[in-house]
């Protein structure tokens, strides 16, 4: 059975899935709104979490949190399920599809064959929606794709039960009940408050704008510390974390700026619109950073000077974000 599912492309998988799922249930939230209310923006540098020997960087909050926070703030009741074996998980999925209920789920990008081959690394926290079954193939609404696609039973089962970190374990979720009444204003302010608080006020050096500054400082010494080849690899990883699918650093700044813009109009608060413009500029600067970093990677030459310059750009970004989010905190704390 297939349902009439309205798919809209989005920049980020998790907020896109939430936005698309809720549109099906009659609640119209644009992607930036979900991202903002769910406090999706963040920054952490995790030098002790190594993926293939490369330190982790995240420009966002960890997977799953956006949906959780968003539904808490709006008052949506969600059913989440986790399975011990693929057959059971697929049966349960079929049962939900028969009821006409589109289901969001966690998958591994590696097994999603509709994506370009270059994107298919083992990234296990990609969100997609399955909304129907036709001729034995599942109809998929992947928020990063322009149109809906389909996938075979075997690929989907593999993707849902991928191994490695983190294991999706067939996790799936769908809204059980959407609230009749809710206060968007309150949710907006709570979301803004949490983001600005976490970006500027956590007293730890590796998170928020402090983390960005710390990374900028460490980066300057990379060529001396780990040698040219590795320094360039680490820099390349930084760009990938900043711009690739499912992650996206400058991209997140733009989504958040779009959110502040929308929120400013909704709450009639010119201050938010002004801050949105400032954050846009900061996103541009992060893109400049990725551009110069990309050139260093392409030439495969690194000297301390270029890394110092890149560090300077990143530090400037951190200072600006510190200013923007401090102001945002001042605006939102009394609400």
């Amino acid at each position: 059975m297939t349902v009439n599912f309205d798919h809209k492309q989005s920049a980020h998988c998790e907020s896109g899935v939430v936005s698309n799922l809720l549109r099906f249930h009659g609640m119209d939230f644009d992607e930036p709104m979900v991202f903002g209310i769910g406090s999706g923006l963040f920054f952490t540098y995790l030098p002790f979490v190594r993926v293939n020997g490369i330190p982790g960087v995240a420009y966002r909050i960890w997977p799953g949190q956006i949906f959780k926070r968003f539904s808490d703030r709006i008052g949506i009741k969600i059913e989440r399920q986790k399975f011990s074996n693929p057959a059971k998980a697929m049966d349960e999925l079929d049962r939900m599809l028969d009821k006409g209920q589109p289901v969001g789920m966690l998958t591994s990008v590696f097994f999603l064959d509709y994506l370009p081959a270059a994107y298919r690394f083992h990234f296990n926290a990609h969100n997609i929606i399955v909304f129907g079954k036709e001729n034995g193939r599942y109809l998929v609404s992947d928020p990063v794709m322009e149109h809906t696609t389909d996938i075979s039973y075997e690929d989907l089962a593999r993707a849902r039960f991928a191994k490695g970190m983190p294991e999706p374990s067939g996790r799936m979720y769908y809204p059980l009940r959407v609230p009749g009444e809710f206060s968007v204003e309150k949710a907006l302010w709570t979301g803004i408050k949490q983001t600005s608080d976490h970006m500027t006020r956590i007293p730890m050096p590796l998170v928020g704008t402090k983390g960005m500054k710390y990374l900028a400082g460490r980066m300057r010494k990379w060529p001396e510390r780990i040698g040219d080849r590795k320094a360039i690899l680490w820099l390349g990883n930084l760009i990938r974390m900043q711009e690739e699918i499912g992650t996206g650093g400058a991209g997140f700044r733009f989504i958040y700026a779009a959110f502040l813009d929308q929120a400013g109009h909704k709450l009639n608060n010119p201050k938010l619109i002004d801050l949105s413009k400032q954050l846009t500029k900061n996103g541009d600067k992060l893109r400049d950073f990725a551009y110069y970093a990309g050139r260093v990677c392409k030439n495969r030459k690194s000297d301390t000077k270029t890394f110092a310059e890149l560090g300077d750009i990143l530090e400037e970004c951190s200072q600006q974000e510190q200013a923007i989010f401090s102001e945002l905190y001042e605006v939102s704390r009394s609400k």
Partner: protein
């Protein structure tokens, strides 16, 4: 980022399957959604990551041909996996997978164990054990 500035670099790894969505501003500073077919720095970074993977696959292939490693090592690298991940898929232990990367132990594997590994990489047992094919596979 202005609407017109959204990059549309022809040289990309998207195979025409994907045009990512960006949030950009129009003339009045309002946000609009724009598709982008690719951006060079991102392509460079992604290509670099794949170069590392391909290098490792090639090294593994040479080792297998020289008899220093079993084909298992090649398939692990080919699928961008780690021994730990393979162990989880084949429901065995990481140290055993590392052991089976040596030809001496690989050649003594039971049919059942080989099937488990073949299932992990989604190939047949014949493909898994076929070293001749790797020799021809000169990239």
């Amino acid at each position: 980022m202005k609407q017109e500035q959204v990059p549309q670099d022809q040289e990309n790894l998207n195979e025409g399957k994907l045009a990512k969505l960006y949030y950009a501003t129009d003339d009045k500073g309002n946000y609009v959604k724009v598709n982008s077919i690719g951006w060079e720095p991102e392509t460079v970074a992604m290509q670099q990551a794949w170069d590392v993977v391909n290098d490792e696959v090639e090294t593994a292939r040479k080792k297998v041909i020289d008899g220093e490693a079993s084909p298992l090592l090649y398939w692990i690298k080919k699928n961008i996996m780690t021994t730990g991940m393979v162990a989880a898929y084949a429901s065995t232990f990481g140290f055993l997978v590392r052991l089976h990367c040596k030809p001496f132990f690989f050649n003594r594997l039971s049919k059942k164990q080989l099937e488990k590994y073949a299932y992990t990489f989604r190939i047949s047992v014949e493909e898994l054990t076929d070293i001749e094919r790797l020799k021809k596979n000169d990239r």
